[in-house]
Symmetry: C2
Subunit: 202 residues, 2 copies
C-alpha cells in the first residue's frame, strides 16, 4: 500500500483491511460508505511529531459533546485541532469505543479463532510510519452507530449510513491518517463491505 | 513525594496537586473525598511495562457503559483488567473527558494566566517513573459529575459526593497509580479541596 495518494482519485479499502497515508494541512479527506452500513475507524498523528495524536478525551471535552459531526473539530492530546468535519451526510459517528481487536472477539464474543480486526489493520498499515501497536489511540469511528441511554448503557447498532453517505474532513495540520473498513460483525450489520476515500484540495 | 506507601495509613493529596505510587496485584486502594464535591483524576500503568496503560475506549467497550462504578473493571490498551471497583459510595465518575490541562483554561475559559492543572500534576508526579506527558492517557475521573443527554451534549456539574464518600479499587496487576486533587473550578463546585487515599491488603 503506497502512502502517496493521488489527488481526486477514489481509493478503495477492501473489506476487513486498512490504509495509511499522509494528508497536508488544508487538504480535504472524504470518507465514503459506498454500499451502506459500513464503519471506518480513523486515527491521526501529527506528521512532524508522531507523539502528538488524536485524543477522544480532548475532543469530547473541547466540543462538549459525545456525538461528533459536521461543525466539530477533532483534537490532539496536545490540545491542537487536527481536523474539522466540514460535511457529514449521515450524522452518526462514535468516539467512545476502542477499535475492535483480537481480544474484542475473544472476550466479548467468545470467538477464539483467528479474526481480522481494526486494531490489527491499523497496526499493519501504521508500521510503515514506525508507529507501534501500543501507541494507537482510540479511533474516531466513522458511521459507527453507538447508542447510549441516560444511565450510560451502551448498545452497538447497525450503521444508519446508506450507499454514498460520506464524511468530509479538512486537515488542520500535516497528518498521518489511517483508515479501516471495520471487521466487527455487530458494528456493520453482519456483513463486511469496502470503504472508499478521496483526497482533494477543495 | 515518596512512591513507597505505608499500608493502612491515610495519605493526603493537598488541593491542586497529585501523587504517584505503586500498588501490588491484590492490594486495595481507597480514594476518599474528605470534604465533599472534589474530583480526583486517576491514571494507571503496568508496573512491569509502562506501554500498557489505562484505556477509556477499552473500558467503555468491555463494560458496555459510559458510567463506570461498583462492579466494573478498568481495562488497559492491551485488553487486560487493571482494577476492579469493589465499592463506590457516591456512584458517579467520569471516563469521557481528558484531564484538565493549561490549554483547558486557555481555550475553554479564556484564562491565559498560570493555572494548576491535573495534566501538569500527573506529569510532574509520573516523571519519577520516567513517564512522559504525551504518554498520559485519558484519566478515570473519580467523583466527577459529567452529565449527558440523548443528543450527546455534555455538561460538567459539581460532584454529588459528600464528605467521606469513597471509591475502593482492587489491583488486578502490579500498577503505577497517579492521583490528583483536581484543579478545575467548574469540576469541583468552585473550590479546591484535598483528596485522601489509603492502601490496604483487605
Amino acid at each position: 500500500m503506497s502512502t502517496e495518494i493521488e489527488l481526486n482519485e477514489y481509493n478503495l479499502i477492501p473489506p476487513q483491511t486498512g490504509a495509511a497515508f499522509t494528508l497536508k494541512k488544508g487538504e480535504f479527506l472524504t470518507v465514503v460508505d459506498p454500499l451502506g452500513s459500513q464503519v471506518s475507524d480513523m486515527v491521526l498523528f501529527n506528521l512532524e511529531d508522531k507523539k502528538e495524536k488524536l485524543s477522544s478525551g480532548k475532543t469530547l471535552d473541547f466540543e462538549e459533546s459525545i456525538l461528533i459531526t459536521e461543525g466539530n473539530f477533532l483534537w490532539s492530546n496536545r490540545s491542537h485541532k487536527m481536523m474539522e468535519i466540514v460535511e457529514d451526510t449521515n450524522g452518526r459517528n462514535d468516539f467512545l469505543l476502542a477499535p475492535c481487536s483480537p481480544e474484542t472477539f475473544q472476550i466479548m464474543y467468545n470467538n477464539h479463532e483467528e479474526h481480522p480486526s481494526c486494531l490489527n489493520n491499523l497496526k499493519v498499515n501504521l508500521s510503515e510510519f514506525d508507529i507501534e501497536l501500543d501507541d494507537i489511540p482510540t479511533a474516531f469511528n466513522i458511521f459507527m452507530n453507538v447508542q447510549f441511554d441516560e444511565k450510560g448503557k451502551i448498545s452497538v447498532l447497525p450503521p444508519t449510513s446508506i450507499a454514498g453517505d460520506h464524511v468530509k474532513f479538512k486537515a488542520e495540520m500535516d497528518l498521518i491518517v489511517c483508515l479501516t473498513a471495520c471487521s466487527a460483525e455487530d458494528s456493520n450489520g453482519g456483513t463486511f463491505k469496502p470503504i472508499h476515500y478521496v483526497v482533494t484540495q477543495v
